[in-house]
């Protein structure tokens, strides 16, 4: 992206003045080098989002922003129903409530090392990963609806976890307002065999080691110390979420004209929040959020089983579970007035600051853990929400490294076997059903995650707490 089109407000904050049909400015939080590396489409998409009815303050892009669908990936925008605001299926994305959860293992590297190969094999064998993989659980129609209403709470009630897990999951594990009746039979059918599966693409389960603590106080509050071994799970709402996204995108694209919405890009398809279609999507999307929360809870159970067999007596406790493809109703101060807004985060992580009432007691004083997934060969990061972030981008931060290169380019540049061998040489065990999938996800195909999180930190979106490096990656 050409920074000549932007107005520099600080080293990490760049604005796009409203022009054409834009109702509000665009704001990009990133350093100049990251912005230069962004596709021009990000500029176009930030501007397009700014044209949507009822948008409040600005159309935001996080430091990891890249070319998405209608919204940029790494896009944040809030809409006010009282100002004719909209809800957008593209603004949430196909993988509804895709997110990350991180668990403490309580293991030291000395305990882990002798069993690392067996742990990698057992995790790969037990956690369904890759295209077409199926889970052990089959839900009847009634059970499916109960899962879509209950989310991780439903999963815990079924024996897939413990009460303490819910405390450390957004929405306490259960997204209110889910309406399974607005989820089509097709979407439910597509999910039938996919409960408790990772999926493919950039989804993974990783065993990681905390290699550096940046903020001792926050790390202590999160229970993180240098050398600690963690598990992080990155996945979403599987086929159900994809199907909900597909169906509502079409319904919204077809009916936009009827609602008087001029779409600069069909992928921005949306409906007024207060319209019947908007309300149906909201109910279905919330059911999709619950599906993702239940899915990560079931994978947590499978992971705990594997660890319990190899490390008897060790218990995996949940640090936090946070989603990065959502639309949530939140109260925010806008020009001194509290407003109830529908905040879309597409490839962006909520990052609530200290004192926020939605945070569990144990985290309220310090702020929300912000879990940033890296690549197989680099690092992941844990950040903490800041008080100032609310005024910057509705308490939002980046979600990952963001791709720098297409899958097409990646497969021309790397072979899966070479990537696996090179990482093995550095002590990172990769297990995946697809070598081509590994090549497409090669670490070099991503931006420098360290530069991304430093930009989030310096911009004030969230503060760096700890760096984690992979030891084992189960790649979908």
């Amino acid at each position: 992206m050409d920074t000549g089109k932007l107005i520099r407000h600080s080293e990490y904050e760049w604005h796009i003045e409203p022009h054409g049909a834009m109702r509000v400015p665009g704001v990009i939080y990133a350093r100049e080098d990251l912005i230069r590396a962004m596709d021009d489409k990000v500029y176009e998409q930030v501007c397009n989002v700014a044209t949507l009815p009822g948008i409040v303050n600005a159309s935001y892009a996080m430091p990891d922003a890249h070319w998405g669908y209608g919204f940029p990936i790494g896009g944040v925008a809030a809409f006010d129903p009282k100002a004719g605001g909209v809800i957008s299926a593209g603004g949430v994305g196909f993988d509804i409530s895709c997110g990350v959860r991180t668990l403490h293992t309580g293991l030291t590297l000395e305990e882990f090392q002798p069993l690392r190969e067996r742990l990698a094999e057992n995790l790969f064998e037990r956690i369904p990963a890759g295209v077409g993989s199926t889970g052990r659980i089959r839900l009847s129609g009634r059970e499916m609806d109960a899962m879509l209403r209950g989310g991780a709470r439903w999963a815990v009630e079924q024996g897939f976890g413990e009460e303490a897990d819910l405390e450390r999951t957004e929405e306490h594990g259960c997204m209110a307002g889910a309406a399974p009746e607005h989820v089509s039979d097709h979407a439910k059918r597509r999910q039938r065999d996919e409960m408790g599966t990772l999926g493919s693409g950039n989804h993974y389960l990783e065993v990681q080691r905390v290699t550096h603590v940046h903020d001792a106080r926050a790390a202590s509050a999160f229970g993180l110390r240098e050398g600690d071994i963690q598990v992080s799970i990155h996945c979403g709402s599987r086929g159900l979420g994809h199907q909900i996204g597909t169906e509502f995108l079409k319904a919204m694209a077809v009916s936009a004209g009827q609602y008087g919405i001029a779409l600069p890009d069909r992928e921005l398809a949306c409906a007024p929040i207060d319209s019947p279609l908007g309300q149906r999507y909201l109910g279905a999307m919330r059911a999709g959020i619950n599906c993702a929360l239940a899915n990560r809870q079931i994978i947590t159970r499978l992971t705990r089983e594997v660890f319990a067999e190899l490390f008897p007596g060790k218990h995996l406790s949940l640090l936090y579970d946070v989603s990065h493809n959502t639309c949530k109703v939140e109260n925010h101060l806008v020009d001194g007035a509290k407003r109830r807004l529908f905040v879309h985060r597409k490839g962006a992580t909520r990052a609530l600051g200290p004192g926020h009432p939605a945070l569990p007691e144990g985290l309220r004083a310090i702020g929300q853990p912000v879990l940033i997934g890296g690549t197989m060969g680099t690092a992941s990061y844990i950040l903490v929400g800041t008080a100032e972030s609310e005024q910057l981008a509705y308490s939002s931060a980046c979600h990952g490294a963001g791709r720098a290169m297409s899958r097409h380019q990646a497969t021309r540049q790397w072979r899966g076997r070479e990537v696996v061998d090179e990482l093995a040489g550095r002590g990172i065990l990769i297990r995946s059903p697809s070598l081509r999938g590994v090549a497409e996800e090669a670490p070099g195909a991503y931006k420098d995650v360290t530069a991304v999180v430093e930009a989030a930190d310096k911009a004030g979106l969230a503060r760096l707490v700890a760096r984690l490096e992979p030891l084992i990656t189960i790649k979908g």
Partner: protein, 147 residues
């Protein structure tokens, strides 16, 4: 997964880059042929179509107000059939008329030992979506698929 394009013998399919995902493009002498090739391009994102035996047929019907929405519907119907039947497809036949699509996809059940599957397609999108007739009379059907 390399492009199956030969200059002399359309129809053909190809992939084109998208920063996060993959663009699929089919080219043929009619919109229907271009749709068939676009389906093949999408299949090749997932697995090698030449390794998929066209043993079983699945019928697909879609309707949409215009050809572009119909292309996305067609590709998404294939995504759904693959996911729920546990199948992969390698041959496609499409008939188009009056906002309706009637299609047949031929393929087989996934066999892990013969079918390496790189990535699943979550859905076909409206990004870079075009169904157009080129100056030389050939038709192009393309969009980005989310993986």
């Amino acid at each position: 997964m390399e492009e199956a394009k030969t200059a002399r013998t359309p129809p053909y399919w190809e992939h084109y880059p998208h920063q996060a995902d993959m663009g699929v493009r089919g080219v043929g002498h009619s919109p229907a042929e271009a749709f068939e090739q676009a389906a093949l391009a999408m299949m090749a994102v997932i697995s090698d179509p030449t390794a998929i035996r066209p043993d079983a047929a699945v019928s697909i019907r879609c309707s949409a107000p215009d050809l572009e929405l119909l292309l996305v519907d067609w590709l998404n119907a294939l995504v759904y059939e693959m996911a729920t039947r546990g199948m992969l497809f390698s041959r496609f036949r499409v008939t188009l008329g009056d906002g309706q699509l009637q299609g047949t996809a031929r393929g087989e059940q996934v066999a892990a030992e013969r079918h390496e599957r790189a990535v699943e397609v979550k859905g076909a999108t409206y990004t870079d979506l075009h169904v157009i007739e080129r100056d030389d009379g050939t038709w192009v059907a393309q969009c980005v698929v989310d993986v």
